[in-house]
Symmetry: C2
Subunit: 477 residues, 2 copies
């Protein structure tokens, strides 16, 4: 068959995980490389995944009273410098605009790496009284961080994200907001992305620049590396003081408000690839899949096949995001194509099936074939999609559990870090020195102090002194 | 009442239209000024309007087979320079990134003013065969043009927009696409924004940089100035040749494809303000209003009023985007506030109304009060919203017609341009010289050669020679 393209092949993940990952990004048509070094083009199929993430997450934000706004993409250098820790954290990795048209600017502008400083500047203008609080804002936009080494979705010089920025009258309210949004991220990761996460707080070393506390959700990828998948920061009143934001309380006294910010990015698409993907390509959770079910008619030259396939497609479209492929490629090519694209369910329909009033549904997650009576299509397919969604979560959770190890002393830690990819649970005394040493000798960083604590053995895995917390450690993206 | 804020007041449009406009932008809480000169902050109420525009327009794009993508925000200088006319048009007004972190870049990057060059670069990578065509792409993003004078929504250094970029096998197909998208813009302006537009083609002088033809929708503002509200460009194969994009046709021969692009921006919000607004503030068409109906309970201290108002609000929320204001501000303050914000329908509900099982609905567009039986709420309010939407369109159309004048010679043209704000219809010979002269002596520019032609008198309004077209002329934003 001259018309048939070669079935796309990718590197296996056992052979080279990094290569497998970029192969999937390219062959599933999620991205293309751009002329601009370190930036990527998000192609229609990749962007449709982002649209599904965005639509569903945005609904969760709005249900909890948040409003969307849009801030400028530029930050004057003097504004960026107002909060000392913040500028130290970000200045080394920002892109600078120095010229507008033919003229040199009086003051350099950085392309936003994050927008705390812009929100503070705005809050100062619009918040005067306790009646103006809280402000519960969010923004969907792109940000720029001038990274040296980049990878599609995981680390690129420009990426898409949402950044929430909220301002509250009391410390307690701001702390509650920080946790509330972390819980929304965890809910989203687990229910929409079918990706189990560990919720916890970062150590001081791993905190966001300028934050008093950084909370995180950490996921475990196929290769045993950890991926920070969403963070929520409590700022106390540090930014308010740096930007001189005050409001008059009910006693007519000027006081500083408390602030939070929280963000997730297109990195979530990378997380999905590395959590569910396999050697045939992408595997998408139905909740965010652009195409949930694809109809592939078999022996389309036989009378009635195309008509019936189109009828099945039209009916499917009422209950899920469906597609039909009537192109002149062979069924085998189509099977491989939609496997590569991670479509959760494939519907095969040939003359024999039509005779028997059935179709064959094939699950992408486990290859299972289910014969479905066409009369039950509208009931069975949504059920199957739910089963795929749950199946993906269960499989990811089981894998994470099988790849989570406990270490009781430094030797064990080094041994696990070297030989067993995954999360390592171990106690910690709370000293930065031990944290640094673990990085040095075992190559691991602290992922988080999980909310669910367990006293493994009472002593620090590094120095043996009494431990304060149980931590998750690992190698990270 | 110490708690009551002062009713917001704005400059009247007769006194100072420009000041009235910015007053509405600020007092209706659509925008705030930013520390970055020439940029604006789009506040929640303004952004919610944009979200409604975006959601509805995006649906129209998807219905016609377009897919969303995301391109990098940076364009390397060498890439921008590939199409000669294009770079000449845009280079003087772009912002340049010269440093990443501490290092100077090897090549300057401009922040995208528009993305033709990026799309061409990508098309070259992914289009090889006639089977790969057409590509029907769109992108929602922000762009930067380093303007000297700026005004909220109408002209700012950064603005939000959508840019469609499509690639076709034939010239005819690309031309059809250009017109199809112009028609979608016109439909959107008229049906969603209640704003009548003139559809036509730009003269060569007013064309987009690099285009063979630029089509436009032109609207008339309250003050008689024209506002270009959406454009659609046919590029021929000029960009394809400049970027060396070819595909192999069915005869296996390499040929150049044909290209289009089309865009609308947050300027549409400015158009809505200046088309429907009045001296009490914003007036929003229900189709894009963030709040379609606001419930203002009267005498809330009376027993049962708040409960009933909340019940009415809950019922309204099932049939439209509703809000209830139970704050301790006075009804008078609330009336003024939601008038300023342009909420299409206000629902007043007091003890007397409750006794009679009615509420009073007040239309923002004409002040009309309608007594509605509460049993009919779910039917009557959507009907009323439709009536407001239609009423706004009819009023705007009537005003445009009353402000459209015909000129038959240069003296008339100058007289109308000086004394009668509005559109001027006049014949044109097609020479650039006459177009330039009209700008010089009458201060008007050609808005478009409308699709609907009428031969007014056969001779050019400027030189008197035989005319080729009837044009719309005017002063423009």
């Amino acid at each position: 068959m001259a018309k048939e393209k070669l079935v796309k092949s990718i590197t296996s993940m056992e052979e080279d995980f990094a290569k497998w990952y970029t192969d999937v990004c390219i062959k599933a048509e999620l991205i293309d490389y751009a002329s601009v070094k370190g930036c990527m083009i998000i192609r229609p199929y990749g962007y449709a995944i982002w649209e599904n993430i965005q639509k569903n997450m945005d609904a969760l934000f709005k249900q909890t009273g948040h409003e969307n706004v849009y801030m400028p993409m530029f930050i004057p250098e003097s504004l960026l410098q107002k909060e000392k820790d913040h500028v130290e954290g970000f200045a080394p990795e920002v892109a600078w605009v120095t010229h507008g048209g033919e003229e040199e600017l009086e003051e350099r502008l950085c392309v936003r790496p994050t927008s705390e400083t812009l929100f503070c500047d705005h809050f100062k203008n619009i918040v005067h009284s306790y009646r103006d609080l809280p402000k519960l804002y969010n923004q969907w936009c792109s940000v720029v961080r001038w990274e040296k080494t980049t990878r599609p979705f995981l680390r690129s010089r420009e990426f898409l994200w949402q950044e929430g920025h909220t301002l509250h009258a009391t410390k307690e309210e701001a702390e509650n907001e920080t946790i509330k949004m972390l819980n929304i991220y965890a809910k989203f990761a687990e229910e929409y992305l079918a990706m189990p996460v560990v919720k916890g707080v970062k150590t001081e070393k791993e905190r966001f620049a300028g934050a008093e506390d950084t909370y995180t959700i950490e996921a475990l990828m196929h290769d045993g590396k950890a991926l920070q998948s969403g963070t929520s920061h409590f700022f106390g009143d540090g930014f308010a003081k740096a930007f001189d934001i005050t409001y008059t309380d009910k006693n007519n006294k000027p006081v500083y408000p408390f602030q939070t910010s929280w963000g997730t990015t297109t990195r979530l698409i990378g997380a999905v690839i590395m959590t569910h993907g396999d050697n045939s390509g992408l595997v998408l959770p139905p909740m965010i899949a652009p195409i949930q079910a694809v109809v592939v008619p078999i022996a389309t030259h036989k009378e009635g096949v195309l008509d019936k396939a189109n009828e099945v497609y039209a009916r499917l479209n009422n209950v899920c995001r469906a597609k039909i492929d009537v192109s002149d490629q062979s069924p085998g090519w189509k099977f491989a194509e939609y496997e590569m694209k991670g479509v959760p369910v494939r519907i095969e329909l040939g003359p024999k099936d039509i005779e028997n009033n059935v179709c064959v549904a094939v699950r992408r997650d486990n290859g299972e074939k289910v014969v479905i009576n066409l009369d039950e299509l509208e009931v069975k397919i949504p059920e199957l999609l739910k089963a795929v969604q749950q199946g993906l979560y269960d499989k990811a959770l089981a894998r994470r559990e099988s790849m989570t190890y406990d270490a009781h002393n430094l030797d064990q830690m080094v041994d696990i870090a070297e030989n067993k990819p995954g999360f390592i649970r171990a106690m910690w005394c709370g000293d930065r020195e031990c944290e640094d040493k673990l990085k040095e000798v075992a190559g691991v960083t602290s992922r988080c102090i999980p909310f669910e604590q367990e006293n493994l053995d009472g002593k620090c895995v590094c120095c043996g002194k009494p431990a304060k917390h149980m931590l998750y450690w690992g190698k990270a993206y």
